[in-house]
């Protein structure tokens, strides 16, 4: 009896006619614990989907295989996977690899045209290689087909900038999302690059989070100079390894905020623009900040070191992915967990709002899959509105890519309750967020060269000369492939 009453209460909740608090009170009244409640909710969502005028059982009995990166998004998907299996009667197998080797595995599988995997996790940048090479399917063929896509899928609920960022025409210099673009992947979770700071340290120093890049440099210097007698070791954490991953987070977000670009596009011919005078001035400021107040072994820093340092209390703030701060803030194994504040950051004093460069964990379909339609069933469920809501509210699917999740009171409560400033950071940053790089097939090679140049400048090379050398080297690389 209480079970059926609870199901009816969940139904009311899912229709938006009951608050989360009321639902929890009702669950308590009927003696239903939180774990049982979430399970019931999953079942109820599955029943609601099954009731749609859409044949979810079309591929019943089919097994698909996924290639996944070890990530909280993947954990969140697996936690809900039984609902998908119950809904469709399909079986899902998956291989999980650590991020350090994940993309090697993906590249090997796709370049050898293996049909082993039907769908896989990827980043939007990677599809600039995979898409034009014919390794992944154009998802427009599925999204636009009402016979293949369930009526409540609502593609337009996915944040527009992210939808655009995951599509591209394949022509170097064309803006992602422009007319003629193919949808190489679909956004699943994403990160904005903002400031995460240790509130305890900032309070002790009597500071507010930085207003611009110069203030950030000054604050970072203060923390580094005063590290001796305090808990922290240095001021600002950013990535520094010789990799594209050093350029795309805080660095590119700040670079774009100053109105700077990586390439000038002259009718499809690209010319490196890192050595413009404004770019040189920006690099000098960035290098000054890293040299005076970054970590001692900055040139080896990746996501993990940056996160680890703020988690352990070694750095006072980071300019990196917002979810990096979110995850490390939430994990009680980290010493400073719970002490982080979040801040939408506008590095350029003349700019009106942040312009974070985005990284988007996305889902793509292998073009060599022999079960594309079945794989699409999993994909539309995985980033569909119901599963996105479950991921955002019940698990760690943060940042969610659907506007409906951001607008949900439950998600808002959850984030505001754990991460001060996070919602404000999102709201101030999302409009200016996009991929600020020029889409081109040598993205990884050129950004790795850029990171190498940054390392040289950090160790004392002349900024102007290093950037001139970098630009001419990149121009040569582009010329070799007929793009300059």
């Amino acid at each position: 009896m209480s079970h059926s009453k609870m199901k009816s209460a969940i139904d009311t909740f899912l229709k938006g006619k009951m608050s989360r608090r009321d639902l929890l009170i009702k669950a308590g009244k009927y003696g239903i614990g939180f774990a049982a409640l979430t399970k019931l909710m999953g079942m109820q969502v599955t029943s609601a989907l099954a009731a749609q005028d859409f044949d979810w059982k079309k591929h019943s009995g089919t097994t698909i295989k996924l290639l996944m990166n070890k990530h909280p998004y993947m954990d969140s998907m697996i936690a809900e996977l039984d609902n998908f299996k119950a809904l469709t009667g399909m079986n899902v197998e998956y291989d999980i690899f650590a991020e350090d080797v994940y993309f090697d595995k993906v590249t090997a599988a796709l370049s050898s045209k293996s049909s082993e995997y039907d769908a896989f996790m990827t980043g939007a940048y990677m599809t600039w290689t995979y898409g034009p090479a014919g390794w992944c399917a154009d998802l427009n063929d599925f999204i636009q087909d009402s016979n293949k896509t369930n009526p409540s899928y609502n593609w337009n609920d996915v944040v527009g900038n992210l939808r655009d960022a995951c599509s591209w025409s394949g022509v170097a210099g064309d803006v992602p999302g422009a007319a003629g673009s193919k949808q190489w992947c679909m956004p699943w979770g994403f990160e904005l690059n903002s400031v995460t700071y240790n509130m305890r340290y900032f309070e002790k120093a009597g500071m507010k989070p930085p207003g611009d890049l110069v203030e950030m440099t000054d604050q970072a210097e203060y923390f580094t100079k005063n590290a001796g007698s305090n808990e922290w070791s240095y001021g600002i954490g950013t990535r520094g390894s010789r990799s594209w991953a050093t350029i795309h987070p805080g660095f590119m977000s700040a670079y774009a905020n100053y109105g700077l670009v990586d390439f000038e596009n002259n009718g499809g011919k690209l010319k490196a623009a890192m050595n413009s005078q404004a770019s040189k001035d920006f690099h000098k400021q960035w290098v000054k900040m890293i040299s005076s107040s970054g970590p001692a072994n900055w040139s080896g820093y990746t996501w993990y070191e940056v996160g680890n340092d703020i988690g352990a209390g070694a750095s006072a703030m980071i300019f990196d992915a917002d979810i990096l701060g979110y995850f490390f803030n939430g994990n009680p194994e980290n010493k400073e967990a719970g002490n982080f504040g979040f801040h939408g950051f506008t590095p350029n004093p003349s700019a009106s709002a942040p312009t974070p460069n985005v990284w988007i964990w996305s889902l793509a379909m292998s073009n060599f899959s022999k079960k594309k339609d079945a794989a699409w069933y999993w994909m539309q469920w995985c980033n569909g509105p119901e599963n996105a809501m479950a991921g955002g509210v019940k698990h760690n699917q943060v940042n969610p890519v659907r506007e409906s999740v951001w607008a949900s009171g439950d998600f808002d409560d959850k984030i505001r309750g754990t991460s001060p400033g996070y919602m404000e950071q999102y709201n101030s940053s999302i409009d200016g967020s996009k991929i600020h790089f020029t889409a081109q097939p040598l993205f990884f090679e050129t950004t790795t060269e850029w990171a190498a140049a940054l390392q040289e400048m950090q160790t004392g090379s002349n900024v102007d000369e290093t950037l001139d050398k970098l630009a001419s080297k990149i121009d040569r690389m582009m010329k070799d492939v007929g793009l300059a």
Binding site: K70, H71, P72, D75, D95, I96, F97, A98, E99, D100, V101, D104, K105, A108, A109, S111, S112, K113, S114, S115, E116, E231, S233, W303, Y304, G307, N308, G311, A312, G313, A314, I323, L324, F327, F328, G330, N331, P332, E333, N334, K335, N396
Partner: protein, 284 residues
């Protein structure tokens, strides 16, 4: 009694050398009993309450982080995979490599040296050069993701190594001993089994250990040619690093556990190892 200053200096030099080589290992062992908080203190902690949490988590494969998430590690399976792949590879190598080494050492036949050098050249080719074509073929013929396929591919590493090392040992053994044994009415196989192999045992043991270490440490073949179900410790260990924390204690624990099999094996065959290496040293 006069104090010999050189003896004292020598003693301190030995201590310094031992410290230099053993300190990282000792510190990793130490870390495996610490919590992340203790490991990441600004001033390193020397005295702490040891915890077995890391070893328990590694064994159980599940580490619950209260109020956040549950971390799953498949290290036990990775360890079993490493053992299957390494033992399997060395066994196949011994089966094929020892008779082949004997043949190359004892018999001169047309194209013999060319074949031996071709086998050696497998060691020259960078793994990344051959891995993609292999992936393509293995997918075509249904060998992707199998222990059999990986053991086969591991022969590229282990077989030339064993063949060339053991060949040298067979060449060092005088054939007259074998001839004398065969004059007593024994067959060729009996002389190979009862005379040649026991005499070359130190070399075979040393080469086997090296093959085992190379197979155990291999990373790229299993990564590309297998699913996550058959990955060895070298690939599996990377999964400790997560988006929300680097559990250094767990990583240290994984290192300690994954070094143990090689260490135990080396201790067991230490006697042969020393003989094997010294035999090689006085050759020529």
């Amino acid at each position: 009694m006069s104090i010999n200053i050189w003896s004292i200096l020598k003693f301190f030099a030995y201590v310094a050398i031992i410290m230099f080589f053993l300190f990282p290992i000792a510190w990793i062992f130490n870390m495996s009993f610490m919590t992340n908080d203790e490991i990441l203190r600004k001033v390193p902690v020397l005295f702490y309450e040891p915890t077995f949490k890391n070893y328990i988590g590694l064994w159980e494969g599940e580490i619950a982080i209260e109020g956040f998430a549950t971390m799953y590690v498949y290290f036990k399976q990775n360890l079993i995979n490493s053992a299957i792949l390494s033992v399997g590879s060395v066994s196949v190598t011994l089966l094929l490599g020892v008779p082949a080494a004997y043949a190359f050492a004892r018999y001169k036949f047309k194209g013999g040296e060319d074949i031996a050098f071709t086998l050696l050249s497998f060691r020259f080719a960078p793994a990344l050069l051959i891995i993609l074509p292999l992936n393509l073929y293995f997918s075509e013929i249904g060998l992707y993701d199998s222990y059999f396929a990986l053991i086969w591919v591991y022969q590229l590493i282990t077989l030339p190594l064993l063949l060339w090392i053991v060949r040298g040992y067979f060449e060092d053994i005088s054939p007259d001993i074998e001839y004398a044994y065969r004059l007593d009415g024994h067959s060729w196989f009996q002389s190979f089994w009862k005379i040649s192999i026991p005499l070359a045992k130190p070399g075979i043991a040393a080469a086997s250990l090296l093959c085992f270490i190379y197979a155990w440490n291999n990373f790229v073949f299993a990564l590309i040619l297998g699913s996550s179900q058959i990955q060895p410790v070298t690939v599996g260990a990377l999964a400790f690093i997560t988006a929300s924390a680097i559990p250094y204690g767990l990583i240290a624990c994984g290192i300690v556990v994954s070094v143990l099999p090689t260490l135990i094996l080396a201790l067991f065959i230490q006697k042969y190892l020393v003989q094997g290496l010294s035999l090689g040293a006085i050759k020529g």
